[in-house]
């Protein structure tokens, strides 16, 4: 008596979509990370020559859009950008009709950013081409988790055993969810931290072994990696958050960072709101990997696209 059904029959050949991290086996993630290490953004091989990648962005993005676009172009693909404000989406075209239109126009893969959680899964169910989730609402942001893991592994041998704290607006963060899934699959010790309104008790239920604290000092003490999250003002509707109080309690300052291991890595998926969740001194400091995360986005997204389109190797 399963109430979950797929809406369309699955085609015989599996489509390589990347919709989330939750359902990805550890081996598949490891394979993607390995592939990313083989990608050379400076002298790339034209693995996707003749392919068309549609970038469908219903929501604003700088890093993710640019990085997917550059990744596709470096591999020789043609890209086309569709945004919510300059397309038939504004006229009320449905998501399913939009992605099917892009497919009919010749897209070989679609990279999609959407404000609704679950939009990637919905679109993929109606598509016969790969769909790459570039962030769906508050749900998941799988390529971000992959590039974060990739970045950590530039500095550490393995993820297993690392103490990683994810601090800030957990509730509204697709980055927190995707990272928690990925890091737990590889045996890192993951702690969520934030005020109760933004880091509710229920947040630890998504993966086994997740920890939660509302005390930033506790999250920082002995941490190997500190991932800071932006407070998503645009998603706060209905929540009464005292921003000054939040900053006082959770901002990553040089003083607080001293609680973490001396060589702790500081990460942030961006965009950074300087002076809120993180001080400029920390964001621009020697332990910060913020810009390296952006750079990692290119080879990681090259790998995702090459894998999805069956062009790897």
């Amino acid at each position: 008596m399963s109430p979950v059904r797929s809406h369309t029959a699955r085609p015989s050949k599996p489509i390589r979509s990347l919709l989330d991290i939750e359902s990805q086996p550890r081996e598949a993630i490891a394979a993607l990370l390995k592939l990313a290490r083989r990608m050379n953004p400076v002298r790339p091989r034209p693995l996707l020559r003749g392919k068309t990648v549609a970038l469908l962005f219903y929501e604003a993005s700088t890093r993710t859009r640019v990085s997917f676009e550059l990744a596709a172009k470096k591999l020789g693909a043609t890209t086309t950008l569709v945004t919510g404000s300059a397309s038939s989406i504004e006229k009320g075209e449905s998501l399913i009709d939009t992605v099917c239109t892009l497919r009919a126009a010749g897209a070989d893969a679609i990279v999609m950013r959407h404000p609704s959680s679950g939009a990637a899964l919905l679109a993929a169910r109606h598509l016969s081409i790969p769909l790459i989730n570039a962030g769906d609402g508050m749900h998941e942001h799988p390529s971000q988790a992959l590039l974060d893991a990739f970045t950590i592994l530039l500095h550490r041998k393995k993820l297993e055993g690392l103490r990683i704290s994810i601090i800030g607006d957990i509730l509204h963060s697709r980055v927190a969810r995707s990272n928690a899934y990925l890091l737990r699959k590889f045996g890192a010790h993951v702690t969520f931290c934030g005020p109760p309104e933004l880091a509710p008790d229920v947040s630890t239920t998504i993966a086994p072994g997740l920890r939660l604290t509302h005390q930033v000092d506790e999250a920082l003490r002995g941490a190997d990696v500190v991932m800071m999250l932006r407070v998503q003002q645009e998603r706060l509707e209905g929540l009464d958050l005292d921003v000054a109080q939040y900053t006082a309690s959770y901002q990553l300052t040089p003083g607080r960072l001293a609680l973490a291991r001396r060589d702790a890595l500081v990460m942030h998926p961006g965009p950074i709101i300087r002076g809120m969740e993180i001080t400029s001194a920390v964001a621009d400091g020697p332990q910060s990997l913020v810009l390296q995360q952006v750079s990692s986005g290119i080879p990681v997204r090259m790998a995702i696209l090459a894998w999805a389109l069956g062009a790897a190797r």
Partner: protein, 433 residues
Amino acid sequence: MKNRKAPNSLLIRGGRILDPSQRLEAERDLLLHNGRVAQITERGKIRGGADDTFDARGLIVAPGFIDLHVHLREPGQARKETIASGTAAAAAGGFTSVCAMPNTSPVNDSPEITAWMQQPERGALVNVFPVAAATLGSLGEQLTDFKALQRAGAVGVTDDGKPILHDKVMLEALRAASALHLPVIQHAEDTRQTAGRPMHSGATSFRLGLRGSTGASEAEIVDRDVSLAAQARAHLHVAHISSAATLKAIRRARQQRVRVTCEVTPHHFSLTDEAVGQYDTNCKMNPPLRSAADREAILAALADGSIDAIATDHAPHAVYEKSVEFDRAPFGVTGLETALALAITRLHLERHIPLSRIVHLLSCNPARLFALEGRGTLVAGARADVTIFDPKKKWRFDAAQSLSKSRNTPFDGWLLTGKVVATIVAGEFRFGA
């Protein structure tokens, strides 16, 4: 008359008559005549026969089921359902009467629309009792003309889907309804707390990245309505309750001797928020599926009598309307054809709630709550509305075969026990036989 062969008579032979209204549960013959129940006798005691006979051996014969809460979508939304298709689904589900909510297009806030819905041209297969809007356009501001609506056939008033939030308007509605002995039906939801929240708040909503609402948004409105109903000495009927907190509020009200009744849907006693799974919009309805603890409280309340009725909140939507992002999909699921089977499977077989209580919840009580004279009972002289079902029949529900125009059910493909065999309205078969 009783032993003479008469026109328009139907003899239902050998069934197990289950009529809680007269505490009857025994193998009996039932004779219907001229749209009324003529008599119930020991087996084989009716001589002379009838125009037609129905062999009900091995089956249960119950007073016709009454659904207090359906959306038939007419006028105005025939892409989802019509009165004809909705009542065909009702007949297939054993319902001989349905109470049609007013959130049609336009809203049923006038005697004209109320009367239109009951015209023979609509092609209804079962009795349709309109529930009219409590305020004009269901905007929550100005009361409709309850007296005229009642005269046109309305059996209650509500702004279903749009709860009346203003205390003063709600109190006025309760007072006006009380004078006419009409129930005020409230969709209890503090929309100030629930706006933009497509499901229940819990582990599933967190995993899916969906905003969640809590049972408190329902219970707080019930608490307020209870105090207003006490002032107005009115009958408050709380639609589709979903949370343990709401049941507490209702029990408190009854201790204060306020007349508060309530209904629960089959989906709320059958499922929890986990069923949303991977954004299944066929598990999106309002109120949302709630926690396992809420469901347990509902099951306990069904067993101990704290809940008065099972109502489906049958809410059809076209496939394309549900095939959208979860947070953009309309609320609502269909329910007429699966209600009895879910009650038997989930309540009787799994929780040992007696079939007599289930018939009580589906027929006797609903008739009493909305004062539907001569229904919900098989006493002599009652309306010849009868539901005949096989409580042991196993079957698989296939949404594609539904008589509703819509397919938005969470129960597609479910293996269920208990099936309607025949539905008789005013002495005539409207389903089966």
